[in-house]
Each structure stands twice: as structure tokens, then as C-alpha cells.
Amino acid sequence: MDANSIIFGGISILSLAIFFYLGRFRASSKQRDREDRIDWSSRRFSLWKMFLYSLVAVGGIILLAQLL
């Protein structure tokens, strides 16, 4: 087994262990007790607004690619 497999395999196992351990606990009160949490029951911004933003992002990326 080479060093690449040992290092990245180790990272994978450690990360999975962290995920399965930490995932069972609730987030800290700093995360939960705040006013600006996402309200998953409603969409504050319309899909059209998101689509418009995404078009701007795509346009920006294409423009940047042309300029560089």
C-alpha cells in the first residue's frame, strides 16, 4: 500500500468516524438560538430572483473567460 492510499484512506476513515459521531448531536445553541435562521417553510426569495442571479453569475463567468 502506497503513501497516497494510507494518507487519503486514513482521512476517509477519520472523516466518516467524525460524521457518524458528530451527526447524532444537536447543533450548538449558538447555531440554533438566532433570529436569522433559514425558514424552510417559506422561500423568502422567489425562484425568479434566484434564476436572475444565476443568469448574472453565468454571464459574469463567460465574460471573465472572454477577457482572460
Binding site: 451527526g23 444537536r26 433559514i38 424552510w40 423568502r44
Partner: protein
């Protein structure tokens, strides 16, 4: 938020035992309360189901991976890979629109995507040995790091964060779609996003970043779902959401590493 609102938010359960009355009654009767808890979404249940989906992905990926290395030809696995991707896409749409079916469709989605991932990974591995374990390590490392940052409250998702991440995700999907159609109809495609130049690598880094930030949205959705007592099937839906993001992140990691190695 009331439990009734929580049900509206996460989709009304098809289970007749789950209605708005369920939660108000549960406060009066301790025995009933325990039953109600076992029929609502929990963090532990979601994590366990994510584990099941991960195992299914690995098992089905192993099949196409082995098939590729035993035949030595991409042609042997490509029909299965493309079939897996198409079936996976259809199952993902079904799961999104019929959350109640997630208990059945999410495992099937994981198996279909596993077939696709195994084939793609094997093709990349044959070209760049060692790339797959690097991509797996970086993907899972990102998952664990962001979970830690989310749980400790260092990363705080807000409505503006959601707007930014969702818009960027839609933009990337749009760009890939345009590129795909241009390729199909004989055009040059949006070449720069696939190039191994500085811009191509920068673009891949941006996409990896956005895919990673989608994980934070998934964590928040799961956390709030369990807090609000969403129906039990939402555990499968939460695990499915996490799996979709992880698969996307893994593929983008593979592309990024391949671009770096091909320079």
C-alpha cells in the same frame, strides 16, 4: 413554530397516525409521547440512513469498478454507467416531488448512482492512478469539516446564504446544460470550463466550493426537520439530499484533481 406548521413545511405524511392532533396529544400522555417520538424525524435516524445509502453506493460502484478492470475496456461499463445516471436522475426527481416515497426511492437512487460512479471512477483511475482515493478522502474530509463548522456555529446559514448558494448552483447547472447542448449539436461547447488552464481550474475550485456550501444547507434542513418533528420518512429524504450533494462534490473533486494531474 407549531408542529402543525412543521408538517406543512416538510410535507404531510401519508401515515394516518400522523396529523396535527398527534403532537398536541403527545404532551398529555407520556406513553403516547414515546410513540410519537419514534415516528418523527431524528438526527440519529438520518445519520444511520445516510450510512445505509453510502454502503449501497459503494457496493454497486464496486460492481462496475470490477467490471471495468476485468474487461479493461470503457465500452464494457459505459452502457451501465449511462443507464445508472439516467435512472438515478429519474429517481432523484421522483424523490424530490414525492418525499413520502423516499424510503424506497432513495436506496434505489444510491444503487443507480453507485453503478455510474464506479464506472467513472474506474476510467479516471486507469488514467490517473491514485486519483479516486484522493477524491474520496477530500470529499469525506470536506463533509466532516463542514459538519464540525456547522454544529459549532462557526458557519451560520442565513436566508442570504441560501439565496447565494442556490443561485450559484442554478448558474452552474445552467452552464453545464448549455455546454452539453452545444456539444450535442456540434458546437465547441463552453470549452473553458473543461480546460486544464488556470481559468478551468479556478472554475472547478469555485464549483467545489459551491457544492461544499450546499452541504451546510443540507445540515440545516436536517437539523430543523428533527427539531420540528417532521415525519419519519423525512429521515430518508434528508439522507437522500446529503447523498445528492456528496455525489456531486465527489465528481467535481475528481474533475479538479484530473485537471491538476493533466497539466
Amino acid at each position: 413554530m407549531s408542529n402543525h406548521k412543521a408538517l406543512n413545511m416538510f410535507g404531510r405524511s401519508g401515515n394516518p397516525s400522523l396529523n396535527a392532533q398527534t403532537f398536541s396529544d403527545s404532551t398529555k400522555d407520556a406513553t403516547f409521547s414515546a410513540q410519537a417520538t419514534s415516528s418523527t424525524m431524528t438526527l440519529e435516524g438520518t445519520v444511520n440512513k445516510t450510512g445505509i445509502l453510502l454502503v449501497l453506493v459503494v457496493i454497486s460502484a464496486f460492481y462496475t469498478w470490477s467490471l471495468f478492470f476485468s474487461s479493461g475496456s470503457p465500452a464494457a461499463v459505459m452502457p451501465i454507467a449511462i443507464g445508472g445516471a439516467i435512472v438515478g436522475f429519474i429517481l432523484a426527481l421522483v424523490t424530490i416531488f414525492k418525499k413520502q416515497w423516499a424510503g424506497t426511492t432513495a436506496p434505489l437512487y444510491a444503487i443507480a448512482e453507485g453503478l455510474f460512479l464506479g464506472a467513472i471512477s474506474a476510467i479516471f483511475e486507469a488514467q490517473y492512478p491514485g486519483i479516486v482515493i484522493q477524491a474520496v478522502g477530500l470529499t469525506l474530509g470536506t463533509l466532516a469539516s463542514l459538519l464540525f463548522l456547522y454544529k459549532t456555529g462557526i458557519v451560520k446559514p442565513t436566508e442570504n446564504f441560501r439565496l447565494m448558494v442556490t443561485s450559484a448552483t442554478m448558474g452552474i447547472a445552467l452552464l453545464y446544460l448549455v455546454s452539453m447542448f452545444m456539444n450535442i449539436f456540434g458546437g465547441a461547447g463552453v470549452g473553458f470550463i473543461h480546460s486544464n488552464g488556470l481559468f478551468g481550474i479556478g472554475f472547478s475550485l469555485f464549483v467545489v466550493g459551491i457544492a461544499a456550501l450546499n452541504l451546510v444547507l443540507d445540515f440545516d434542513f436536517i437539523e430543523q426537520g428533527s427539531e420540528m418533528g417532521a415525519p419519519k420518512y423525512m429521515e430518508w429524504f434528508g439522507a437522500f439530499s446529503l447523498m445528492v450533494t456528496l455525489i456531486w462534490l465527489y465528481l467535481e473533486m475528481l474533475r479538479l484533481l484530473a485537471k491538476l494531474r493533466s497539466r
